[in-house]
Amino acid sequence: MAMRFKTVTSPFVLLDTSVGLVMRRVLYAMLPGIAALAWFFGWGVLVNLVIATIMALAAEAALLAARGKPLALYLGDYSAVVTAWLLAVSLPPLAPWWLTTLGILFAIVVAKHLYGGLGYNPFNPAMVGYVVLLVSFPREMSTWLIPHGIDQAHAMTLLETLQAIFSGVLPARFAPDALTGATSLDILRTKLGLGLTVTEVRNSPVFGIVAGHGWEWAALGFLVGGLWLVYIRAAAWQIPSGMLGGLAVIATVFYLIDPQHYAPPWFHLWSGAAIYGAFFIATDPVTASATPRGRLIYGVGIGILVYIIRAFGGYPDGVAFAVLLMNIAAPTIDLYTRPRVFGERRA
């Protein structure tokens, strides 16, 4: 009997990098940040996650069925769940249920499936949903709870939270304005506009050790999860380092020019959605740049845009807008940063 050898071709070392696995890892990596958010902002964070997940799966299933795609295959890749979580984490903890639902529907139906589904969407679906809500419902989107532990206990029970989210009724034992307040970026923006200096603004109780009270711990949680994603190579290191580096450099320049009117770079890095956006939003493999140098440029572009929007624009934070703007630029960046094929001569 002739000996038969199975002919094997490269690659010889295979990593399990199915879409489902990568997406599940993103979900695991979000857990520390979500835990911190839930600690400081209460049950609402988790309720939003549940609403968003259910709605995203329902919308995804409906659209897949309408497009005649296999349901089990695409629902099992967790991409809809990741979109749902990314959007839900960005929403205020007491966001009414219809706000979350509308955002998710826009993200899944318009931003994802109208463009051809996973892999074809030019814009980050979660951020499209977020921006639609931010532009259309400015009041609902800027009503943030005061983080736990600032002046009095604001802990709402799960039942009260559900009531607030589904019927819009806030518990009677709190004064109407005692529950919600401006975030640290909001306050910085308003007070600087009134002519106060950064040191005066910093004395407000919403500020913690480096940035917003509570927010800095959520940012730390997302940093831990994000670094793990980079370590296991589920996210490209160039994008977060480019974005945070770009933000830090431009913030430092303005801080050195006039420290009384521009917040210090460490405040910018730890505030708002900077770290969360750098590791979880900007690194979306579908909508980000795909070449090594391109990813660096893409990241730096987001960082600079975030600073410009925060310091000179109309909104307190600008991660969503910055990511969408750089999504538009990503194909062009890729075109001009295409790596040289081995052996190819420089033109």
């Binding site: 318009v110 639609v132 532009v135 259309s136 419902f137 400015p138």
Partner: protein
Amino acid sequence: MSETGYLKILKDGVWTQNTGFVVLLGLCPLLATSNSVVNGVGMGLATTLALFISNVAISLSRNLVRPEVRIPVFIMVIACVVTAVELAIRGFLPGLYTALGIFIPLIVTNCCVLGRAESFACKHGMLKSGMDGIATGLGMTLALALLGALRESLGQGTLFSQADLLFGEWGKHLTLHLASDYRGFLLAILPPGAFIGLGCLIAVKNVFDARAQRRIKPAVAIAGPREAGA
């Protein structure tokens, strides 16, 4: 060019070659003034009037104008007509004039007016050109009204608000409130809503046309081989 029947001109202008949904000319006023039904219809009717008069004038002068200078002549004619229309709206419907603002004089730069002059009016007789102007204008009015209805109902939950701008006092009673406690969906009123809405309407029209095509196809398939054999 073969003879074109009046019915075909009408059908082309309103549906088959609709400026808003098919040819995609004159998108600037289409997107900018379609935030309510009344604004849309007002803009559409103003454009229709301008199209009709300019088409007739250009058709009448088509044998006097040398082809080398035809485009500047067209633009002069269109600019005169639009200025007259603008003055008329300002005189008779001042409310609508304030609501539409700069977009009335901008009808001059609307590509669909120059497009009809170049592709139709300078090659056809006066009656047909006039018909073409009305048909194209009605097509644009239809697009504006549909997009306006979509954006107004989603954006502020009403239909035909401010109808008094167009119809005088009694128009005030036309406003429909679709939901009693509607918060408004600002995106639909803002410019992105116009682009998204137009995209959706074009998609719906394509679905209609594809259905109609499918109904015709079997008949063609049966007729095909017999024709080849004959």
